[in-house]
């Protein structure tokens, strides 16, 4: 029996972890962007830049369009944020310690991530404007392509643990992290993670060729919330990646939560670097690569991971 947390603490802990992660993502993004563009990056400026942008958006009015689906439009960022929070909640930050340490953690995580498609599509659809609508449909193609990839590599990580609980998966990596045990796992997972957060090279629904796509009609608080929810999703998938492939909270000296935070940040930094160094992939090409190359590789990852687990099992 796992200790259960009070609802208030659960919400506070998840919220604080997400907020810290989102801010760290924004600062990292500013620094890496400054370096790549050759403008240079000053720490103080990078720390302040996200706050400035948020303040600008808070002071801006919200845009409206002709006959939008107002309820869905308000719901889309909220849904994305709620799903990111669920993703974050199943990740343990200490032995037996998770906001929602359920036995089928991977299944719940997968279910939440599958609904991301709904949130992004709603955002695209509800403005009743052509660029967001095309962006929304683009994301459906993208989501249906990375979805299998995402779940297959997580299932491979569950094989040695004999359990779908994220806590057990972390503990199964006490001697050897999954990133070494299943070398295909983490790279494939990161592709799916970028896809889930429509981030960097997989920023297809928000692409430049759609003048911003699903966010083309957003302004003010609505835009701020959409960006925050997107980065929340990025943090949540990075945290899950840290738990499933980098040994989660395990590590010497520091407390478990600190190790999880460090590993999550490392993955976020990788994804931020990818955003500034990798070109955006055309959607058709991504779909093709997922089905013809990456999903077969993920299946290979499952069977190689299974073989390794059988061989190593006592």
């Amino acid at each position: 029996m796992r200790p259960s947390l009070s609802p208030g603490f659960a919400v506070l802990a998840t919220g604080a972890a997400m907020a810290a992660g989102i801010y760290a993502t924004a600062v990292l993004d500013e620094i890496v962007g400054g370096i790549v563009s050759g403008r240079g990056a000053r720490a103080a400026g990078a720390m302040l830049a996200p706050v400035r942008r948020a303040a600008q958006l808070v002071l801006q009015r919200r845009a409206a369009t002709e006959r939008p689906d107002a309820e869905a439009w308000a719901l889309a960022p909220a849904l994305l944020a709620g799903l990111a929070a669920v993703g974050m909640a199943v990740v343990p930050f200490g032995p037996g310690l998770a906001v929602a340490g359920i036995d089928a953690g991977i299944v719940l995580f997968g279910a939440a991530m599958a609904l991301v498609m709904v949130a992004v599509f709603l955002q695209g659809w509800s403005a009743n404007s052509v660029f967001p609508v095309v962006g929304g449909y683009r994301f459906v193609a993208q989501a249906l392509s990375y979805e299998m990839l995402h779940m297959l590599v997580l299932i491979a990580a569950a094989l040695p643990a004999r359990s779908l609980a994220v806590g057990d998966i972390v503990e199964s990596q006490a001697h050897l992290w999954n990133v070494l045990r299943q070398p295909l796992g983490l790279p494939l997972y990161l592709v799916a993670a970028a896809g889930l957060a429509f981030w960097g090279p997989l920023r297809l629904p928000d692409a430049e060729d759609l003048a911003g796509g699903t966010s083309a009609e957003l302004s003010g608080v609505a835009l701020l919330l959409w960006r925050v929810a997107q980065r929340a999703m990025l943090v949540a998938v990075a945290a899950m990646g840290a738990a499933a492939f980098l040994g989660g909270w395990q590590g010497p000296l520091l407390p478990g939560a600190a190790w999880l935070a460090l590993k999550t940040l490392a993955l976020v930094a990788l994804l931020v670097a990818a955003r500034h160094l990798l070109a955006r992939v055309p959607v058709e090409r991504f779909m093709w690569a997922c089905w013809v190359v990456l999903i077969p590789l993920a299946l290979l990852d499952v069977f190689l991971g299974g073989a390794q687990a059988l061989w190593a099992a006592p």
Binding site: V11, V58, L79, G82, V133, Y137, I155
Partner: protein
């Protein structure tokens, strides 16, 4: 059950927080759209028709392959838990199942289901 309740609480709290923030943002700087403001952005010209339409989803063939794989995922969750107890037999059984599905991918590839333009 408590854990599932916590997950649900966190989800609802996230959704509610964002809805409240949106409402608060509207209260702080109320939207004042005029009719021309509402015209969707297409680069400076108003649209002729509404964007909502029966959209030609050209990747429909891929969605069918996805369905097949999504069903397989349902079997794979419990399989992952018992895989080590059942050993090689479970591995080979799943391999056969997956092999049939991969034939679907190969067929889809040949039929250009993963391209649309």
């Amino acid at each position: 059950m408590a854990a599932l309740g916590a997950a649900l609480t966190v989800f609802l709290a996230g959704v509610a927080a964002f809805l409240v923030l949106r409402w608060a943002g509207d209260a702080l700087s109320p939207p004042r759209p005029t009719d021309p403001h509402r015209v969707p952005f297409q680069g400076g010209r108003p649209p002729e028709v509404h964007a909502w339409s029966r959209f030609h989803v050209r990747y429909y063939a891929m969605t069918l392959i996805f369905l097949a794989f999504d069903m397989e995922m349902v079997f794979m969750y419990p399989w992952a838990v018992v895989f080590l107890e059942e050993g090689l037999v479970a591995g080979v059984e799943m391999l056969m199942f997956i092999a049939i599905l991969v034939l679907g991918i190969l067929y889809g590839w040949r039929e250009k289901a993963f391209r649309w333009a």
